[in-house]
């Protein structure tokens, strides 16, 4: 049986991880995601889990690496400056094929920035972020409900592909309260992990590594990583469409921007405009193909709305290969796009 509870997005993410069977949380305080470590510090000990307040984000991501290497479901969460500090560890986690859940509840940047919501870490999240050729699976929730659901999905995908999953959220989605359906009946499926460091009883030793000094080791590991990314791109693309069937112009937006944009679409439909909303849910893998299909079957114009100087819009332009008009509207450094401004831009686009 599931039940409905009023929850903050950050708490929903934390409880979602608990439902997914996560019993190891390592983290360092940073606003606007502090509800997550605070909640986990009391919730995990209740159920035999472990919470460690690390001395830095460098330490927390490497504690996650240690716990994940034993096969445990482990996680950390942070916000933008903290996620920059974690990039070294994320690269190692990806290189070592270690599953785990990460969340970046984005705030304004660059630098220390501010503590308002932002979407300026899209490049860092979707193009790797650290050194080397790797990706993490990137899920972009736009509600507290999805904060919970994607924590569960994130662990499932991480284990399925032996790779880190990242929830790319923002300070508004993290702090807003909404009614959330809590999946009390969910039974986590723990796959067997013969590669995990559990002691070499009745088997040869296991080694978790990303260094090979011989000629072929690193190219071979890269081949494995790339083959895995092709599988993920084939199987795991997720998106949501709203009134796109007959749309001639669509807004493409994710996370908080998609919620604001949806209201504008609703309003403009009331005025008789053929407009729709396309919301990428997985930012990696990105729904290039579906956006190209929309462009090929009637959509003539696209407005991309982001809380950044224009990051996802590059992927949208790649998707349509510049065959149709793609405009951009962004607000920077912690400002939100307003419905009035999105409406104005859409009206201009339709002229």
């Amino acid at each position: 049986m599931s039940k409905r509870v009023m929850m903050k997005g950050n708490i929903a993410l934390a409880e979602g991880a608990v439902i997914a069977g996560c019993r190891f949380y390592f983290g360092y305080p940073i606003t606007p995601q502090n509800e997550i470590p605070e909640y986990m510090s009391s919730r995990l000990p209740e159920i035999g889990g472990t919470f460690v307040q690390a001395e830095s984000e460098l330490a927390s991501i490497n504690m996650v690496l240690g716990a994940a290497s034993t096969g445990a479901r482990a996680m950390t969460t942070t916000s933008s400056p903290g996620f920059s500090l974690m990039q070294e560890g994320v690269s190692y986690l990806a290189a070592c094929h270690l599953p785990c859940l990460l969340a970046n509840v984005q705030r304004g940047g660059p630098g220390l920035g501010n503590i308002n919501a932002s979407q300026a870490d899209y490049f860092q999240a979707t193009k790797g972020g650290g050194h080397g050729d790797y990706h993490t699976i990137v899920l972009a929730p736009n509600s507290p409900q999805e904060m919970m659901d994607f924590a569960i999905l994130g662990f499932e995908l991480a284990d399925k592909y032996r790779t880190p999953s990242l929830i790319l959220s923002d300070g508004v989605i993290g702090l807003m309260m909404e009614s959330v359906e809590v999946r009390d009946d969910y039974k986590p499926n723990f796959p067997s992990k013969p590669w995990a460091l559990t002691g070499c009883k009745d088997r040869p030793k296991n080694v978790i590594r990303s260094l090979w000094l011989d000629q072929d080791g690193v190219p071979l590991n890269n081949d494995k990583l790339q083959a895995k990314y092709r599988e993920i791109e084939k199987n795991e693309i997720r998106y949501e469409e709203y009134l796109t069937e007959d749309a001639e112009a669509v807004i493409i937006a994710y996370g908080l921007s998609s919620r604001i944009s949806r209201d504008v679409i609703e309003h403009m439909r009331g005025e008789g405009h053929k407009v729709g909303l396309f919301r990428p849910i997985t930012l990696y893998p990105f729904p290039y193909k579906r956006i190209a299909e929309l462009a090929g079957k009637g959509v003539k114009k696209i407005l991309t709305v982001e809380m950044s100087a224009g990051q996802m819009v590059e992927d949208v332009r790649l998707a349509v290969e510049c065959k149709i008009q793609v405009e951009f509207y962004g607000e920077l450094g912690g400002y939100f796009p307003s419905e009035a401004e999105i409406y104005k831009r859409m009206k201009a686009l339709l002229k």
């Binding site: 830095s56 490497n62 690496l65 190692y92």
Partner: protein, 249 residues
């Protein structure tokens, strides 16, 4: 004719040639760790952490599970492993650049939390793998590839004495410094490692074994001279001894 085996390769040590420079102390300490793991019957319940530096290849030589750690992060990785596998023996093996420079934060805080792990710290007063640059433990006046005129304390500070520093933390149960430059030192090192592992297995808490070792290649000395240098010079700056032992026998 009957033969008595009095010395053999530990089961925990893989039977291959080490890549370390001939005369290097790493091989000796690897062997002592493997002997101790075997004597305690822990091979199948041991998880090692290999650092960045010459000893990253420890996973080629230890015949038990090993996790590689990023430069300096071994104590954080060990924390994650131990919290998930509390009944396993977790050994973090680190050099001086790794433990006392880039990983100082992780080192101190894992010790301060009293993580029930054992840290084996190889101090050879320079960065071996990258070619002999200054380490936090480089002696005053010591010539390295980044201190061509010798370490100048006015601009580069003084060697950090890790065993002393660690022993000041309340949660630390056992902190010692030994050498592997001579037979007596090797025996004391073995005794210290064995004790540290036993304390961990008994759930007694954090243990730290600093081992003074040589780096004959980067010091540009013969193995024999480099061991003499450890005894005469390094050990004078970093006195061997028991700095903390809450479980004296």
């Amino acid at each position: 004719m009957t033969q008595n085996v009095i010395y053999e390769r530990p089961e925990s040590m893989v039977d291959i040639r080490l890549h370390y420079c001939p005369g290097c102390g790493h091989g000796t300490v690897h062997r002592l760790i493997c002997e101790a793991v075997d004597e305690l019957g822990m091979r199948e319940k041991t998880i090692g952490i290999a650092p960045v530096g010459c000893a990253v290849s420890a996973y080629d030589y230890f015949d038990f599970d090993v996790c590689e750690a990023a430069h300096g992060r071994a104590a954080a990785v060990a924390t994650g492993i131990k919290r998930a596998m509390p009944d396993h023996l977790v050994i973090s093996y680190q050099g001086d650049g790794d433990l006392a420079s880039i990983g100082m934060g992780e080192t101190i805080h894992a010790a301060n939390r009293g993580e029930n792990i054992t840290v084996i710290f190889i101090n050879n007063a320079n960065y071996g793998m990258t070619g002999g640059q200054m380490a936090p433990t480089t002696l005053v006046g010591q010539v390295t590839t980044t201190t061509a005129s010798g370490r100048n304390p006015l601009t580069e500070g003084y060697p950090i004495r890790m065993a002393e520093l660690i022993s000041n933390l309340t949660a630390v149960k056992y902190a010692v410094r030994t050498t592997v430059a001579d037979v007596k030192g090797v025996r004391e090192t073995k005794k210290a490692i064995l004790k540290a592992f036993k304390l961990q297995i008994e759930g007694k808490g954090y243990s730290f074994v600093e081992v003074l070792s040589n780096c004959n290649t980067n010091w540009k000395m013969t193995p024999v001279d480099s061991n003499k240098h450890v005894t005469d010079v390094l050990a004078a700056a970093f006195p061997p001894g028991v700095y903390k032992d809450e479980y004296k026998e």
